[in-house]
């Protein structure tokens, strides 16, 4: 998604990306990032909490008005839960990232992308 943000910015559209994966967006060179430390899947606020969702969006609009240089990251102060063990459990044997079927599809698509990359390089 950060790569799409970069194409949009280069083409004259201002962007804000609402992320739950701070390091991935930062590494990709995201122009303006609103980081919400929630689980993957809820980048625009807590499910069934419209007020929290509005606060997240408003923070994005504020960043648009205030950003005077690229690469600014705003860390929102909201926490997913008092208990932070969920962060340690993500992508472990106990809580595998994808279902077996989804993992197989992922590997097939990765292989396809690698083959394409090889072809592009030739």
């Amino acid at each position: 998604m950060s790569l799409v943000a970069r194409v949009l910015e280069a083409g004259g559209v201002s962007t804000v990306t609402f992320t739950t994966a701070r390091d991935i967006a930062a590494s990709a060179g995201n122009p303006r990032q609103i980081f919400l430390n929630y689980p993957l899947g809820s980048p625009a606020g807590r499910p069934h909490d419209p007020e929290n969702q509005r606060q997240v969006l408003r923070a994005g609009l504020k960043l648009l008005q205030e950003a005077d240089k690229p690469g600014i990251i705003v860390d929102l102060p909201f926490t997913w839960s008092e208990d932070t063990t969920w962060m340690g459990k993500f992508m472990t044997d106990e809580q595998p990232f994808l279902s077996d079927e989804a993992e197989q599809t992922r590997q097939e698509l990765l292989d396809k992308a690698r083959a394409q990359k090889k072809q592009d390089a030739q």
């Binding site: 998604m1 950060s2 790569l3 799409v4 943000a5 970069r6 194409v7 949009l8 910015e9 280069a10 004259g12 559209v13 201002s14 962007t15 990306t17 609402f18 994966a21 701070r22 390091d23 991935i24 967006a25 590494s27 990709a28 060179g29 122009p31 980081f35 430390n37 929630y38 689980p39 993957l40 899947g41 809820s42 625009a44 606020g45 807590r46 499910p47 069934h48 419209p50 509005r54 969006l57 408003r58 609009l61 950003a67 005077d68 690229p70 932070t84 969920w86 962060m87 993500f90 472990t92 809580q95 989804a102 590997q107 698509l109 990765l110 992308a113 690698r114 394409q116 990359k117 592009d120």
Partner: protein, 167 residues
């Protein structure tokens, strides 16, 4: 602040499973930047997402096939910005399924919240359409094909600002 380092975690996770090549995350030092060109109260705003979902007809039947991760086909789609959240169904397989769920569309694709903010006057107008593309393992595909198509459609729609929600 404590947060998940996904890049390290992904490498570690897949190496442990025996894959020696893990996913290459994009890494860029230069960052393109377009400052906001007009007051927000005059700006036209679009919502863009990589979330996997399908649109439903008025009776709740799917209007399209689910897509998960991008292929080599052009994968950009559009729907009217006034599409109701109740007629969108998530097909995501790559959220943290132990912690959150994708039942509330506005938690990852805040179309209802956007209309509320518009009504409050938080920005000038909402784009005619919102835009979707799928995450793709090919960075070249995203940068050279899908990304430019999203840009083309945004320009056609006179969009000044895009709010992006990755899933």
């Amino acid at each position: 602040m404590d947060y998940i380092r996904y890049i390290d975690k992904t490498h570690e996770y897949y190496r442990k499973q025996g894959y020696d090549k893990t996913y290459n995350y994009a890494c860029n030092e230069d960052i393109p930047f377009t400052p906001l060109k007009k007051p927000l109260s005059e700006a036209r705003v679009a919502l863009v997402t990589t979330a996997s979902f399908i649109l439903l007809d008025e009776e709740g039947h799917p209007l399209e096939e689910p897509g998960f991760v991008g292929t080599n086909e052009l994968e950009v789609s559009t729907a009217p910005s006034d599409w109701p959240a109740g007629r969108i169904m998530s097909t995501s397989g790559d959220h943290d399924r132990y912690q959150t769920d994708m039942e509330d569309i506005d938690a990852f694709f805040p179309i209802t919240r956007m209309r509320e903010l518009l009504a409050e006057g938080a920005f000038g107008s909402l784009s005619k359409n919102y835009y979707r593309t799928l995450p793709n393992y090919s960075q070249r595909k995203t940068t050279e094909v899908d990304g430019p198509e999203v840009l083309r459609r945004c320009i056609e729609d006179n969009v000044d600002v895009a709010l992006l929600t990755p899933v």
